[in-house]
Amino acid sequence: MADFAQVLDRLCAASRRRYLDPYAEIIWPDVLEADAWSFTPELISLYGTGVWEEMTDAQRRSLSFFETVNFFSLNIHGEKSLVEGLARRVHQPGAEDITPYLHHFLDEENKHMVYFGGFCRRYAGKVYRDRKVAFPREYAPGEEDFLFFARVLIFEEIVDVYNVRMAKDERLPAVVRRINELHHQEESRHLAFGRLLVKRLFDRYAAVWSPETLAGVRDYLAAYVGATWREYYNPDAYRDAGIFDPLAVQQRALEDQRCRAHRERVTARALKYLREAHVLEAGV
């Protein structure tokens, strides 16, 4: 595991070298530019659907603002549970080698919530509610740790595709581009760490799991990809943008072929990695 240790050292060094102050890194305008796109239109959840085609340009731009609030909100909720999970694993017996990097991971995730929350509170006056519920259950050896880091990896892989695209989109306000850029810079390290750790945990534990446990892990992760995407189609954002019957609109968008193809494109990198690591079987 010399390679793993070397990568951890490099990631820790990079986190120290690029240590950011989230309170100083972002210049917050008093108000966002009226009628500007806040979210890359091609990434908006309803883009290309029948509802989208019927919207005026002003309605689309209004939806783009609430999609930004939703994107930042779902990041906050993901980071809250991530911070909880990381805090439980720092200095965990048997995980001493990853603990130094977990300190950076924790620190950086807390900072992300500062700027995501700063945007939502300043410009929308709220963070969208989280509706995820976790149920306690029994786990096979290593299964809980593996699923925790695999969920984090999938979540961050999807977010990162959006971050990279929006950081460069000059149609968006500077503050939105900057938040996406800062997030991508640190997430690229988290992703490098996650890819190594998920494979290491899978290789260590999958061999001792029963076939039922392994099948359950694979089913769960495939379903987790779908559940993660559903948060991008938030009826609360549609309602705030003045869209009629938001729950039906969500369902139609989830079933829309163009939206499905978009999700497949964005998720392709994460699924390719999980297949190559043998976490998921071919064809998933």
């Binding site: 509706r131 519920v133 559903r230 729950l247």
Partner: protein
């Protein structure tokens, strides 16, 4: 809006549509939904949205008690007509 009977029917219909591997006669109103994997933890997000739509009231998942989604009867008692909103 709903009577208890219509609430349960809408809920049962939703479960059958979401699960796709289960028929209405395969579970009753006391069947443990999560334990029997008729609903997965990952589907609860959609269930909460559905309950909010059905009842017209927001569900605060932070306030949910353990077992709030145990069965159709428990969900109805928690979120249905005259329910306790949170299990």
């Amino acid at each position: 809006m709903n009577t208890e009977g219509s609430f349960k029917k809408e809920l049962r219909d939703w479960i059958v549509v979401r699960n796709q591997k289960i028929a209405p006669e395969d579970f009753d109103d006391d069947t443990p939904l999560i334990q029997e994997r008729i609903i997965t933890s990952l589907q609860v997000l959609d269930l909460v949205l559905f309950l909010e739509e059905l009842t017209g009231s927001a569900v605060d998942v932070e306030q949910l008690k353990p077992g709030a989604f145990r069965s159709v009867n428990v969900i109805c008692a928690s979120f249905g007509p005259g329910g306790q909103r949170g299990g």
